[in-house]
């Protein structure tokens, strides 16, 4: 029987199928949103209290106020660029990157290449 951790992971994986941010989108993000995304890219997943701790440990000029942080998290989750499991203090956030799509070449070309490479 799957435990709580497995169920949460499954829930996160299901949500990650929906949308996601591309590395190119990161370039265009407003600074506060990009700051959060960059932290999340390195940490993979974080609880809300941990994210607040990391923010509080930043130099004052780089820090986001709690209101700005909450606003940014709300925008990022609405866009499915972050996946949130749970609510408020118990929320866990995980970054959601969009899959890089494959080649649009016709299937015939790939099947022919595959046969050749199998030798």
């Amino acid at each position: 029987m799957p435990g709580v951790f497995d169920r949460l992971n499954k829930e996160i994986e299901n949500k990650q199928q929906e949308g996601g941010i591309t590395p190119l989108d990161l370039v265009e993000l407003p600074a506060p949103l990009r700051k959060i995304m960059k932290i999340m890219l390195r940490e993979l997943q974080m609880t809300y209290p941990r994210l607040c701790e990391v923010m509080d440990a930043m130099p004052e000029e780089e820090r986001l106020t709690r209101n700005l942080l909450d606003e940014a998290l709300s925008t990022l989750t609405q866009q499915f660029w972050l996946v949130r499991i749970g609510e408020k203090e118990k929320a866990i956030y995980k970054v959601n990157l969009k899959r890089k799509s494959g080649s649009t070449l016709s299937a015939g070309i790939w099947s022919s290449l595959d046969k050749k490479l199998k030798g």
Binding site: V27, V95, S103, D114
Partner: protein, 261 residues
């Protein structure tokens, strides 16, 4: 926060000596007693494994296997310090903490990635997990030349970005684009390295000119040399020929990277 630093090595154009530089910088960091990983994210045209003496027969699990869920990060890490091979330079890495995370050189697996695309959540998870699983001080990422999505992802997560360019107008223009992107992504430490500079040039002047043009620090100007070409990726040049001008300048770049707090 992870304690290990991600160092992305990038060039806008091919042929700048990116893989050679990455392998030598990683080797210098390992010689300095650091725990070092090298990831080949140039999935479409991998090559850095050659400098570490790997070929298809020695290569085990790869990044491609990880991306397809067929291997863990732990299984991919190839311990160079335990497998230095016969090369004189690489032999100096015996017992050092250096791991290579290679991309597959099997044609079918490369074509599979191009055909099916890349799960970026999995790729990023792999890069970050590598640091924690191997308790790395530095993870060097050898990127694909030019700007593609894998490269942007590695730049976005980097602590240090080293951009390699030749003193050539095409490289200068391309580097300008990469620097703009890196600044948009708030990369904390941006450095440039000029490679393949003709020995007749004034290297100090090249450094000054490029620093003024890009408002970024040039960590080293390395000469164009037939000796490096003659090495033909058979060995790690800076370890094999430590007194060569190229090796001395390369060590300067390594020192600049290791000095970043």
């Amino acid at each position: 926060m992870n304690k290990g630093k991600i160092v992305s090595i990038h060039s806008f154009r091919g042929g700048t000596g990116k893989s050679n530089t990455t392998a030598n910088l990683a080797a210098q960091a390992a010689l300095a007693g650091k725990r070092v990983g090298v990831v080949d994210t140039d999935i479409q045209s991998p090559g850095i494994h050659v400098l570490f003496g790997l070929d298809e027969t020695k290569m085990g699990k790869t990044i491609n296997d990880f991306l397809h869920g067929k291997a863990t990060i732990r299984e991919i890490g190839f311990p160079i310090g335990e497998n230095t091979g016969g090369a004189e330079g690489r032999a100096k890495l015996a017992g050092k903490n250096l791991w290579l995370f290679p991309s597959s050189i099997r044609g079918r697996e490369i074509s599979q990635i191009i055909k099916e695309g890349v799960d970026f959540n999995r790729l990023n998870e792999g890069l970050q997990t590598t640091i924690s699983e191997f308790d790395l001080d530095y993870l060097f990422i050898d990127t694909h030349p030019g700007l593609n999505e894998e490269t942007l992802l590695s730049i976005a997560t980097s602590d240090i970005l080293l951009i390699i360019l030749r003193p050539d107008n095409q490289d200068l223009q391309g580097t300008s684009v990469t620097i703009d992107i890196a600044r948009s992504l708030d990369v904390p430490n941006l450095m440039l390295m000029v490679n393949k500079a003709l020995p007749k040039y004034d290297f100090a002047q090249i450094k000054t000119d490029i620093e003024e043009k890009f408002h970024a620090s040039v960590a080293g100007v390395l000469p164009l040399t037939f000796d490096l070409a003659d090495n033909a990726s058979n060995d790690l040049f800076s370890l094999r020929y430590p007194d060569h001008e190229w090796s001395k300048a390369l060590r300067g770049v390594a020192e600049a990277i290791l000095a970043v707090k």
